[in-house]
């Protein structure tokens, strides 16, 4: 598994904390959802980054009150055909205006990169190395899209009008 | 004739392992000498769930063909024949003439 962000493979600054393990004072930590919600008060003063691993069958509305505390949200694709996290991502970006890192985890394959980007993900725990290496190439596959989404790409309709 | 990949492995008679060639979907059978054959006559025939399971595992590990499953055959006068209508159609094609020119 490789972490891709900014179009490149990078080292993961976040340490995954398992359920009841103590949270280190330093370093970015990735917490399970239950932990974040339970320890919200304690974590309020933490200076270093907090990330949360949010399950795909749980409404992100529950996470909304904590968004200002969270620097990274990891959403899950238990298998790549389970597309619930695409909706979660869009709601976080577009409705709740989440500006931190939105990371795709689980089974993350090459042919989903563009959908993920457009849904608002900007970091990817890519399952296969060749896919991670091809990331920058793959996201250039399509030059235009019909519908607006969470990314900055201008959908086709306004582009058509501009072209006239 | 329920989609065979949804069935549990139950062997009540002679069976073969069959699949579709990846490149063009043509029907192939796991061969008696390893690999695949398009000829049913050259297919490996087994009679136990154990043997069928092993043959199927071999087939699934070989990417030359896909969607492998265990299919019944009938042995008649030393010949291997398809064991049901679905397998007869897979071997011989649709049960009517393909349209060349019709209605004319």
């Amino acid at each position: 598994m490789q972490l891709v962000k900014g179009g490149k493979i990078i080292d993961d600054p976040y340490v995954r904390i398992m359920d009841d393990a103590p949270i280190p004072e330093e370093g970015a930590v990735l917490l399970p959802a239950r932990r974040l919600l339970a320890d919200a008060g304690e974590l309020a003063d933490r200076a270093e980054a907090i990330g949360v691993l949010w399950p795909n069958e749980r409404s992100v509305a529950e996470l909304a009150p904590h968004l200002d505390r969270v620097a990274m949200i990891a959403l899950n694709f238990p298998n790549f055909r389970d597309g619930r996290a695409y909706s979660q991502a869009r709601i976080l970006r577009e409705r709740h205006r989440f500006r931190g890192e939105l990371r795709a985890t689980g089974q993350v394959l090459r042919d989903q990169f563009l959908f993920l980007c457009r849904a608002g993900f900007d970091a990817f725990e890519v399952s296969k190395l060749p896919d991670a290496l091809a990331f920058a190439e793959v996201v250039k596959r399509y030059s235009g899209f019909y519908q607006p989404a969470s990314d900055n790409r201008w959908p086709v309709l306004p582009r058509r009008r501009a072209a006239r | 004739m329920t989609a065979p990949t949804q069935q549990k492995l139950k062997v009540n008679g002679p069976v073969v392992v069959t699949a579709n060639r990846l490149s063009d979907g043509a029907v192939v059978y796991r061969s008696a000498v390893g690999g695949w054959t398009a000829r049913l006559a050259a297919a490996a025939v087994v009679t136990t769930a154990q043997a069928a399971g092993e043959l199927l595992a071999e087939a699934n590990a070989d990417d030359f063909a896909v969607a492998a499953y265990v299919a019944p055959v009938a042995l008649r006068d030393g010949r291997i024949e398809p064991g049901n209508l679905r397998e007869r159609i897979r071997l011989a094609g649709p049960t009517f003439e393909l349209p060349l020119t019709f209605g004319i």
């Binding site: 597309g83 042919d111 596959r141 030059s143 | 979907g25 896909v66 393909l98 019709f102």
Partner: protein
């Protein structure tokens, strides 16, 4: 006809390039079958019993003659010289090699054709009335809206991995020829009390293992809100549709389990957050799409010109065909012509490459180059001048697509069944063929009147048997083919599911049973003018059951 612009063409070309790469990675083994299968499905590529099948999208059933010629070319060059029109207005090729598919896609793209989203757990072909744009009872052309929805749902980043497939149909006529009440979303364009045109939104219809008639969750939705409302429905479905059981994953199950009211409330709640956002459709957006629809420059013509009247009197065959296949057009002097793809003994909906070319020529000559595909698996020429009907008939007759059986008992709708499809339990095409032979006599057919027989080879119901006046469903019992027969289904604005006639019937007896059902109808009908479907409604299934099973 919608004409692609640069953006549309570029998208399809990029799709072809992506697919070429995916096929190469599959053939090299870099992609496993499990990883590749959803990708090929999203391009309409199925693996069937003995070959791959490619389902080409024909958006809302509209084809140009150029496109039809391209399909003929593909049939000749890469397939076995024929294609099959489906109950969702698409075309299927049954013998294409995976290794050829990238080239096939590239050639299709040259004619603005593709297989995008004709399969997979995404929004499928948006279907409509095959008389859209020309029907006399239509309030406006629903194809504009079908195109708006098509673009919005193409490669939608959020809705490409839904729990299951998603089918949308739209109608704008008083008489529903698009079966909107048995789709995941059905849209009915109509006028409200204030005279405004908007959509009735119906959700959760569908056939298959658990058939449902859809529920109206929004009686009137303004045009402006169509995309945001559909987005809200899809988002609710994407999040809450079941993913634990493939047989319970359609939206109809979610609507049924929540109840229509609660489902509607979930949609409204989601919609409230987005209805005034970027998806609101303004007049400029509609005009943009409408501008790329080409409409014929109709001449000013009179109804019933002399050429037509003389030919009707002079040639009995022409008159028979005219009365059966020609329908009223909204423009005076013009006509809508249905081409029957149901010749006696033929597989329903199949067309040879030669026929495709001939129909393309005829479309150019007599119908402004436009052809429509109906979900009942016939074709339509939508803009024929009435004075051209006699010449058209002769040309169609030469090509074998002028059988005057449209809407009659031998105009059968059938899925491909066990002869092709790996999901099937039983064959459907030979059943249809035998029925067309039993009922070949045209006078007999006219004496029976309007009657839709629908045949499905398995419970997935691609033949729409639940909504056939007579529905035939193939099942397997102890390795033998048996058929369940239902009566009284219909897919139009009075949509209803058929009721079981009696115990399943073996393959060899199906045609006999259908003959008995029709004999019973002749006996039970109040008059020769009472349609089969109305007789069933009036007397119920019991009198049919008694007569049919009496001797069995």
């Amino acid at each position: 006809m919608y004409v692609y612009d640069e953006f549309d063409r570029t998208l399809v070309a990029e799709r072809v390039a992506e697919f070429r790469d995916q096929v190469a990675r599959r053939l090299s083994g870099e992609l496993t079958e499990e990883e590749f299968k959803p990708l090929r499905l999203m391009n309409g590529v199925y693996l069937q019993l003995r070959a791959y099948m490619l389902r080409v999208a024909i958006p809302y059933g509209s084809l140009s003659s150029t496109q039809l010629r391209k399909l003929a070319h593909i049939a000749r060059r890469y397939d076995r010289n024929y294609g099959h029109f489906t109950t969702r207005q698409n075309l299927q090729f049954n013998w294409i090699k995976l290794s050829d598919l990238p080239d096939v896609m590239a050639e299709l793209a040259e004619a603005s054709l593709h297989g995008m989203q004709t399969s997979g757990n995404c929004v499928r072909n948006i279907t409509t009335d095959q008389w859209a744009g020309v029907a006399a009872d239509e309030i406006e052309d629903p194809r504009i809206w079908a195109e708006i929805l098509r673009q919005h749902s193409t490669m939608h980043p959020e809705f490409s991995f839904l729990p299951r497939k998603f089918k949308i149909a739209i109608t704008a006529a008083r008489h529903d020829r698009a079966a909107v009440r048995v789709h995941d979303i059905g849209l009915r364009l109509h006028r409200n009390g204030a005279g405004e045109i908007g959509f009735e939104v119906i959700v959760g219809g569908g056939l298959g293992r658990t058939p449902f008639i859809g529920k109206t969750i929004k009686p009137f939705l303004p045009k402006r809100d169509l995309l945001s409302y559909v987005e809200a429905i899809l988002r609710v479905y994407n999040q809450y549709g079941r993913r634990d059981n493939i047989f319970k994953a359609r939206i109809k199950i979610l609507v049924h389990e929540l109840g229509a009211e609660r489902f509607a409330a979930e949609v409204e709640s989601e919609w409230a957050a987005i209805k005034d956002g970027v998806l609101a459709i303004d007049a400029a957006a509609i005009a943009d799409i409408a501008a790329r629809f080409r409409y014929p420059r109709y001449e000013r013509l009179d109804d019933d010109p002399a050429e037509l009247m003389l030919a009707r009197q002079a040639t009995a065959g022409f008159d028979t065909w005219y009365r059966n296949t020609v329908s009223r057009h909204k423009v005076p002097g013009y006509a809508i012509v249905t081409l029957s793809l149901k010749p006696v003994g033929g597989p329903p909906g199949d067309v040879t490459a030669e026929q495709m070319d001939a129909i393309a020529d005829v479309a150019d000559r007599y119908s402004f180059g436009e052809i429509r595909v109906g979900h009942e698996q016939n074709l339509v020429l939508s803009h024929v001048a009435q004075r051209d009907l006699p010449a058209l008939w002769q040309a169609l007759d030469r090509s074998g697509v002028a059988t005057p059986n449209v809407g009659l008992v031998s105009d059968i709708i059938s899925c491909p069944g066990l002869d092709y499809c790996s999901l099937a339990n039983a064959r459907s095409i030979p059943v249809a063929q035998e029925l067309t032979r039993r009922f070949r006599d045209l006078e007999n057919q006219r004496g029976i009147g309007r009657l839709h027989i629908n045949i499905s080879g398995c419970i997935n119901a691609c033949g729409h048997h639940h909504v056939g006046h007579i529905g035939i469903l193939g099942v397997e019992k102890n390795g033998e083919e048996f058929y369940q027969i239902t009566l009284g289904g219909r897919s139009d604005e009075l949509a209803e599911l058929g009721a079981l006639l009696g115990p399943a019937v073996p393959y060899g007896e199906v045609a006999d049973v259908i003959e008995d059902v029709i004999a019973a109808y002749r006996e039970l009908r109040a008059s020769p003018n009472e349609l089969f479907i109305d007789t069933v409604k009036r007397v119920g299934v019991e009198p049919f059951r008694e007569r049919v099973y009496a001797a069995r």
